[in-house]
């Protein structure tokens, strides 16, 4: 770090400084330097970075969007549920597009208009989306109600909820007004990119698994685990909501 100094224009302080320096003022200065350095409110990590910058930063925001998606296990779990029984690339593309359209709409509108929804509530709903999709995969709705809800509509609707969750997180980041729209669009591109990267890995693993003769038997087991994980996510968020409000 460079040392920045007075350029001599702090006129009033000169007289007293002249007294202080010969009487150990130099030592006092050193201590004052050490004691006040960086004593502002520092936010490290991605949020800190975003709060430092302004203007258009396309690639950094694409990176942050992709990172957010890849490290967001709730989104990944829902995505896994959606593609679990989709065997054809055409179906995968349709459903993933529906999900992407859903979360893009609410993410962009949510940030642009500043819809601040409590993060615990929206994350609890996202947890429930995982429960819903896993139950759907298990055929629970047909068994319980003799009725199969439209899976495409459900994917789109839950996409809207996931986008609202993304918007709430981005609002916490406090992106600068300067360059907001471009950065937001870049973040959204990053979210889709991260989703595709995650999907690529999911489809490879599912590809190997589906070829195994035990797949169908293990699949119901896996979806029961997914119901459990979804309930756990929801429970954590509700507990967090109660503890923090």
């Amino acid at each position: 770090m460079t040392i920045n100094r007075f350029d001599g224009s702090a006129r009033v302080s000169h007289a007293i400084r002249d007294v202080l320096i010969p009487t150990g003022g130099a030592l006092a200065m050193l201590v004052a330097f050490a004691a006040t350095a960086h004593a502002h409110d520092v936010t490290p990590g991605d949020a800190g970075y975003i709060q430092e910058i302004f203007g258009v930063h396309i690639i950094p925001f694409i990176y942050l969007g992709a990172k957010h998606m890849i490290t967001g296990y709730d989104h990944i779990l829902f995505l896994l549920g959606v593609v679990f029984f989709l065997y054809h690339m055409r179906d995968v593309a349709i459903y993933v597009t529906l999900f992407a359209v859903g979360h893009s709409v609410t993410m962009l509108l949510g940030v642009w208009f500043g819809w601040g929804i409590n993060a615990y509530i929206i994350d609890a709903i996202i947890g429930l989306s995982v429960v819903y999709k896993a139950l759907d995969n298990l055929g629970a709705f047909q068994r319980w109600f003799g009725f199969q809800p439209d899976t495409k509509v459900a994917t789109l609707v839950f996409g809207l909820f996931h986008g609202t969750g993304l918007a709430s997180k981005i609002l916490e980041y406090q992106i600068a007004e300067d360059g907001l729209l471009a950065n937001l669009l870049a973040f959204n591109v990053g979210v889709e990119l991260g989703q595709l990267l995650a999907l690529f890995v999911i489809l490879i693993v599912m590809g190997y698994w589906r070829r195994s003769p035990n797949f169908v038997r293990q699949a119901s087991f896996a979806n029961i685990i997914m119901v459990f994980l979804g309930v756990l996510l929801t429970y954590q968020q509700i507990a967090g909501y109660i503890a923090n409000t």
Binding site: F6, V12, A32, A35, A37, Y49, I59, L86, N223
Partner: protein, 204 residues
Amino acid sequence: MYNAPQPKLEDLPTNAQLRRATVIAVIGAAAIGVMVYLPAEYGIDPTGVGSVLGLTEMGEIKQQLEAEAEADRLLHGDDASSSLMDSVFGLFVSAAHAQEAWTDELTFTLEPGASTEVKATMEAGATLTYAWVATGGRVNFDLHAHAGSEAVTYEKGRGQTSGEGSFETPFAGDHGWFWRNRDDQPITVTLQLRGDYSGIVWSD
């Protein structure tokens, strides 16, 4: 399953296709790790791709913020006990009088990425009036104070070229600005002050 047809083996990707995809995924992950993740998180850029993409700067800023947060923790702990040191030793004293004219004018230059702090030592309930102008670029600032367990943020801004106003202190201590240049040119800031303060503390 129950709401989907059973997979037919001929519908599924072949083992050869899956092996190929796996190899691509592993190579892709390694490439992303080295060319994107390392620069963006740690500012380490062995291939130079991160710098071209503007990700190395992000990693460097994150590392800088991390180091500052760590320094904050070491310095203040949980109870911010160094404020006594600030008030005892923070003595760039100037005899200021609240008048219409500015009593102090400070000028400093910040290189890109550099930061500094300028604070006025004030009693509780005192008022400081200020005006500042940045030339050469846009500057980030955090106008704040903390002493003991008390802390206050008056205003934060980024990418600004000027500011003016006044604030009244809720508690005694050093109240003032943290400045940082996140632009790409050196910035010169001129800050004018008047009000009820006993001194100016300057730290880098």
